[in-house]
């Protein structure tokens, strides 16, 4: 095919309505639709459709047995006015997310930045040390052994030995300790995708800018970070934030594995647990859908908020 015919094929936009042009373009690029079809069909079926269905079901009393009735906002009203455990779950989710999200984000960035100037081989080893906990599956269960509730637990035995306590602490069965411990474990597994993205982003900053900066009077590494590195990393900072926030909201499974379900006094009960309780165990699909919709809105909302904040840092 010569170049001329290729140019002829591209549809000129004038002399046509928007609709006609769109249809022409769609016809011309039919291959593209074939290419995205398998992915988009599966994605629609298992990501988009579940969200849409949740929204629809959340206004009904669907319970898998009877034909659902439309109940307006009853589920939402019940959640906020009649369900104390849900409010506990909201509180816990926020505590969890507000601590784990930002701390894991900062930790990922700082560690990536600290190791940026190390020689490549050493950097690779240090990267592995920090990244390993997040890819090692169930390895976080070791915290149960370390913080075991009897005196055979390493932490308890050390505390007993040093005389801080006289009785072993039931760490994972004590409402006072569950939340802080789960947060620590969550942080331990949180140096994941955003960490790697930051390492790559830091490597990608043009080195000559640092030299130019040094000539222009950048005095120390902190000024360099603020005036040169961060403005160069806007897109990576954004991507990392989304990974960190979504991750912080998704730690429910870790909590269940560590503290059981439900946790003592609902001390580590999150919205995700509440969702699973009503959807997965009691089959109140309508009610659990309302929980899912709220969780969805909270996640999207916090991501949007953080995106706005980061857009200001990056510029």
């Amino acid at each position: 095919m010569s170049k001329k015919t290729a140019e002829k094929k591209a549809v000129a936009r004038k002399d046509m309505t928007m609709l006609q042009w769109t249809l022409k373009e769609m016809k011309r690029n039919w291959v593209a639709y074939v290419m995205v079809a398998p992915f988009m069909i599966i994605f629609t079926l298992f990501t988009i459709a579940p969200v849409v269905l949740s929204v629809v079901f959340s206004f009904t009393n669907f319970n898998l047995l009877e034909w659902p009735d439309f109940v307006f906002a009853d589920n939402y009203i019940r959640l906020f006015l009649d369900d104390d455990i849900f409010l506990t779950a909201v509180k816990n989710t926020f505590i969890f997310a507000v601590i784990v999200g930002p701390v894991s984000y900062l930790m990922s960035f700082l560690v990536a930045w600290f190791i940026n100037e190390l020689p490549p081989k050493i950097r690779a080893v240090v990267t592995l040390v920090f990244y390993a906990p997040s890819i090692s599956g169930q390895v976080y269960l070791i915290w149960q052994t370390l913080f075991s509730g009897d005196s055979y637990g390493w932490v308890n035995s050390k505390l007993l030995e040093m005389g801080f306590i006289t009785e072993p602490i039931q760490f994972f069965n004590d409402a006072d300790y569950i939340m802080p411990l789960c947060i620590v474990v969550a942080l331990w597994t949180s140096l994941g995708t955003s960490f790697l993205a930051f390492i790559a982003g830091l490597q990608g900053v043009d080195k000559s800018q640092f030299e130019a900066g040094a000539v222009d009077g950048v005095k120390n590494r902190w000024q360099e970070l603020w005036y040169i590195t961060l403005p160069n990393m806007g897109p990576q900072l954004m991507f990392g934030a989304i990974m960190a926030i979504t991750g912080a909201f998704g730690f429910g499974g870790v909590v269940t594995a560590l503290c059981g379900f439900p946790s003592v006094d609902y001390a580590a009960h999150t919205i995700m647990h509440h969702l699973d309780d009503y959807g997965g165990q009691r089959f109140e699909i309508g009610y659990s859908s309302a929980i899912a919709v709220i969780l969805f809105l909270v996640m999207i909302g916090s991501n949007m908020l953080v995106k706005k904040i980061i857009a200001k840092v990056g510029t």
Partner: protein, 291 residues
Amino acid sequence: MGKKLRTRNHKVVLNRSRGGDAGITFVLGILGLFMFLPMVYVISQSLKPLDELWMFPPRFFVVNPTLKNFTDLFTLMNTSLVPFSRYIFNTVFVSVVGTTGNLFFSSLAAYAMAKIKFPGGKAMFKTVRTSLMFHATVTAITSFLIMSKLQWIDTYWARIIPAWATSLGLYLMKQFMETNVTDAVLESARLDGASEFRTYWTIAMPMVKPAWLTLIIYSFKDLWNAGASVYIQSEQLKSFNYAIQQVMAGGIKRAGAGAASTVIMMMVPILVFVISQSNIIETMGSSGMKD
């Protein structure tokens, strides 16, 4: 890198105070210990003989290392109701088929979204990108209903097919193609009469090797680490990780075998990462989100 730039003959001197270096090394050391010690403890536990596992006061490091926990684990495996090889097969089968499909479908869609301008392409990508903002727990219940409507409950498909379309896989692949596959190369292939599929497979894919390695690792890691699934009820279809958890749930006598199994499970993703680290970092270089 800083050291290379700290030349005295030239005027360029990057300011790196000794105090700052020391402070950073100290913080890095503390964080490093926090990350590393639990991992060491797992390995130490897996090598402890029974009397050391239940010694009071417990010791952090193993004194008389033994491989008995590992041999015990294999003995335990032989006594299970469903042969252990079946669990291993399930995990390997689901991981391999799931990862292969994900690699193929995600990269195909990513190629079309990155390199062909077609109505709706941008909107589709934006939708996929937005889905990175919520965790899959949100959709767990309704996904289950869809699965049961499709009658995929208690089949391999329930675990494999959703793994074929992961948002993060498509996102990373598309971003990487955008920066690393030049339009000029594709254009000349198209002018030579190559179909889009041919261009995708023979020109674009070889140019994005780091991205597909990353996709393979991410997908494989998730499928490999998957434990009990709500979609699977038959013992014959359950995963290796689930079986391992059953071993650990066996109580005091199995603490050693449990630690041994954790070590075996964690070694696979770690080894895969060690081999492919530089490729993953390269892929992440184009992961940035612009708006």
